[in-house]
Symmetry: C2
Subunit: 226 residues, 2 copies
Amino acid sequence: MYICKNIFEVVTQSEENYLKAIYHLGKQGRVSVSTNAIAEKMETKASSVTDMLKKLADKNLVNYKKYQGVNLTEEGRLTAASVVRKHRLWEVFLVNKLNFSWDEVHDIAEQLEHIKSKRLTDEIDALLGFPTHDPHGDPIPDKNGNIVKNHSVNILEIKTGDEGILTHVKDSSDVFLKYLNKNNLALGDKIKVIDIEPFDNSIKIEAKAKEMIISKNVAKNLYLNL
Amino acid sequence: MYICKNIFEVVTQSEENYLKAIYHLGKQGRVSVSTNAIAEKMETKASSVTDMLKKLADKNLVNYKKYQGVNLTEEGRLTAASVVRKHRLWEVFLVNKLNFSWDEVHDIAEQLEHIKSKRLTDEIDALLGFPTHDPHGDPIPDKNGNIVKNHSVNILEIKTGDEGILTHVKDSSDVFLKYLNKNNLALGDKIKVIDIEPFDNSIKIEAKAKEMIISKNVAKNLYLNL
DNA sequence: ATTAAAATTTAGACTTATCTAAAAATTTAT
DNA sequence: ATAAATTTTTAGATAAGTCTAAATTTTAAT
């Protein structure tokens, strides 16, 4: 008897979440991702991560060698990209088609990203007009897992007097987004760097014809297109 | 230390599926629903059902007495109705807002019905214009778990010569729906009973100015508003 | 009213995903 | 280069949900 598991192999939600974490951590430059980094990101224990990495390796979704960290196989990368694609498309849906604001969509998208239907994903994609970025400016992988290259630069790297369009926020937590809401800052806004304070790296900016001061911690999360 | 579990009690997907099964079986007239009936509906074993019934009883979602079957508590009924509500709203969404046909939506709705966000459900409800019925004519419970009363009657109970509007199909399986598609029958069609064959209860009907013969098994699933 | 059949429950086992505590390997610091 | 600190893995346990097989209860039939 010959049962070809691979073809009908199902990836569980938990596995998808691990793949997504590895995908995100892998983007941060690292060649291989450490067990501890995954554990921290997923708010779980390193031992649980080890268990899962073995399972993912068995399924050919990651390359894993004891004590050496992991990286995604091509199959794993595509699976992870598909989850990220769904997450970000659903976020756009919630904001553009329903009445959610950008700080309210993350938790719901975390659930919706696991819905298994290629057709549904593509229909939502079409309904939204094939968006390339989610409400936080994060790029949406296409059907083949490819993303458009991002040209935005962090506001801390911009010279005094220069200006750009706010296109991406790195931190998508609702606390940070609510801060931006409160200060009337949104994607698409034209922002000018008025002054950088050397003492604490706080920045005086101009947006919507008003001046304000943002801390270094805030600045670290704002990316502009020049 | 005093931890109030009840308030933050989470209902798992599996529990939701059992509640839904009991909800549907309970509608079929029965006062209490048997273990075997649930097992059959859920395509699982009676022993698994027993295990789950105990758990649901612990959570006050069903009234359960050994060997006596179960019925839903008020809390269980509301939970089940909420799942059914979400299922049917998502079906409407898939058909009305995306390009799915009524025979393609069930499996996706089975996944979407478990998304936990009251706000999302209500936003979808509003987007769709507060529909009262899903694409198969099944009633959609409102926020309080109430459904509009159905006045449709089975086509087998209609006299020769009478006519009505097709408003509900009992069987929502894709085989049956594809049969209706193939024969160009859809909800909203005006159907006239031309003749009933006493031998096998097949019925000659007129729809869209064309005559056709449907078997008793098909007829059992068609409900009209007179 | 017994007995046979059917339905239901119990007991014990398995899988997945998780955890803690201890052991092993790797990295860092002296 | 060796010891100390850190990271990672292993071993063993737990909980949810499922299963099979056996035991029990209920229902149906004579």
